[in-house]
Symmetry: C2
DNA sequence: ATGAAAGCGCTAACAG
DNA sequence: CTGTTAGCGCTTTCAT
């Protein structure tokens, strides 16, 4: 008796003594129904504890009300918070999220992309760093990226990374650093945080020092590589701008181990300002990304694409061009 | 042309010059097919870039290959890592996850439960703290909880919280603490970490000091409440066992602000040992939960329920009784 | 070894 | 206002 299948529209119709269509109508509140029928149906629904089968609804070609969210991994606070905020923003519009952790592996991401299409999600929000996956070019589906330039045709929501880089670097200089170094994930022209750092150093006539530890370095190797990167810096480097907070934490630890006092002898600024890391390290100075706003904007652009594609057809029209970068904020730690 | 609908089985059949059934057969590798037909169909599939519509497949009553994961929020490192590990374990079995952040609100959790049933997920993994939601009693679907006792009939996967509480408290005593206090989320008999703490203090003949700051306290109020809780402790308290790492971080901050040196004047132990917090605070001593193992076990028990319910009917048979708690590990910070 | 036809649960014309 | 009738894309008897 416990394994009896879920009740269907037909069951409700039978109990209420009306037709399938009528039940469907009261469910979707479409057309004119007599109050009496409405009541009878409502009664039958509660009696049977009926819940419309969304799968069947989706099959009809309507919509699955599901959005795929691809991130490196929700285990990282930044992406965890991003996913939570996206889910939050989407909930208000009746959507849910299918979370896909690519773990930085292109193959896995490719599989997920396929899977999301197979599941007929209504759209995709893809975050993570700028690995290029050609498959995205094939996706004919509402698609928005977060902090990830895939192609000029795909809207990308991001914060003002370059400004953040400048704010961070200037802050270090203001606090007396003579030669701040940059510790980032991947160096190159697409790295706007690096661009901001370089711009400030250039203006000040200081020779930049850039070190990298790849974003997807597994935890075990990470500590060693970070240490090595820091140890390889010229001796006159007296500050580090780390392009994410967790890396900044590693710099803090390195400084402690090397007997450099922070912030007296050595200064550090991070990036992201996630709520989790703020709780763990309230004194870390950092550039805070407006995560909730990023999520809201991504959702907004995506939903716009979705409704446009329902009408006209092509979701990738130029009207969804990349919106302006969202402002970042310098958060100064009390003691560092 | 870009908005042309996704190809269907019928399209493939037409191109390959065979019937629907045949295509379905080669897709599912069922029955005897001539090699020639197999090849022709495979060709048509790649030519059309066909991807089976999972929604239609699911409608047939098979399986959505989707598992609902309910957690307070993936924004918290513990639940983010848990979700990522669950997804990881599930991927190997061809399942994906629908993530639901209840945000600690019963109403939202109720809605999600409904939604998951509507979506015909194949099972649910529910984590979070022991708020009791009667709705879970109604769920006739494979269901496993993680660190959350819902009912004796619902298998619960957890780590050895009580042992963790004892390890933490004993560690503080060993390091010279005279009167360790407990800072936790909710006090009561179900709180096994607290039970471990109380047991050790009882054996040592020390009067316990328990303070609470609710798990779902919003960030803005949290700092103040935590401070107040700590300030309200008797003066002879010289150590705190915080039942999660982020709270432990707040204790560290409080100690610093009060001029107490850690670990010389004041000692702290946390709980969870997430990778994110370990990176942020490598020196924090903590009790590490085996998150990957918890996830793997939850998935294991759930999949067992799923295959059992496919055969016999009732997923909630006693054979899925709660497995033994998983071992925890004391991680000693270098400098604290 | 392959095909025809009947659904899965629901929505949406089209009648009445 | 309400019911009849086709499908949505796929799987699965049952024929051939």
């Amino acid at each position: 008796m416990s394994a009896r299948r879920e009740p269907t529209l037909a069951d409700v119709a039978r109990v209420a003594g009306v037709s399938l269509t009528t039940v469907s109508r009261v469910l979707n509140n479409r057309g004119y129904l007599s109050q009496e029928v409405k009541d009878r149906v409502a009664e039958a629904i509660t009696e049977l504890n009926y819940r419309p089968n969304q799968v069947a609804r989706a099959l009809h070609g309507k919509s699955t009300h599901t959005i795929g969210v691809i991130v490196p991994t929700v285990a990282l606070p930044f992406f965890g918070e991003m996913a939570a905020e996206i889910e939050n923003a989407l909930t208000d519009h009746g959507y849910r999220i299918l979370v896909c952790n690519s773990m930085g592996r292109a193959e896995r991401e490719r599989e997920y992309l396929d899977l999301l299409v197979s599941h007929r999600v209504d759209g995709i929000i893809s975050g993570g760093h700028n690995e290029n996956l050609s498959e995205y070019g094939t996706v004919r589906m509402p698609l928005v990226t977060v902090d990830r330039l895939l192609s000029p045709r795909i809207p990308n929501v991001c914060c003002d990374n370059e400004k953040g880089g400048r704010l961070a670097t200037r802050h270090l200089r203001t606090r007396g650093a003579h030669r701040p170094a940059l510790l980032t994930s991947r160096s190159g022209p697409h790295n706007r945080r690096e661009a901001g750092y370089l711009a400030v150093l250039h203006d000040a006539g200081i020779e930049p020092v850039v070190r990298t530890v790849d974003f997807h370095t597994p935890d075990p190797e990470r500590a060693g590589l970070t240490e090595a990167a820091l140890d390889s810096m010229p001796a006159d480097v007296d500050a580090v701008f780390a392009t994410d907070d967790l890396t900044a934490a590693a710099v803090l630890e390195w400084a402690r181990a090397r007997g450099r006092r922070v912030p007296e002898d050595f200064k550090v600024v991070g990036f992201d300002g996630t709520s989790a890391v703020r709780r763990a390290l309230p004194n870390l100075t950092t550039i805070q990304q407006p995560i909730a706003d990023l999520a809201a904007q991504a959702v907004d652009v995506l939903l716009r694409q979705i409704s446009a594609s329902r009408e006209s057809g092509d979701p990738h029209s130029p009207e969804f061009a990349a919106p302006a970068p969202l402002p970042v904020k310098l958060l100064v730690g009390v003691t560092s």
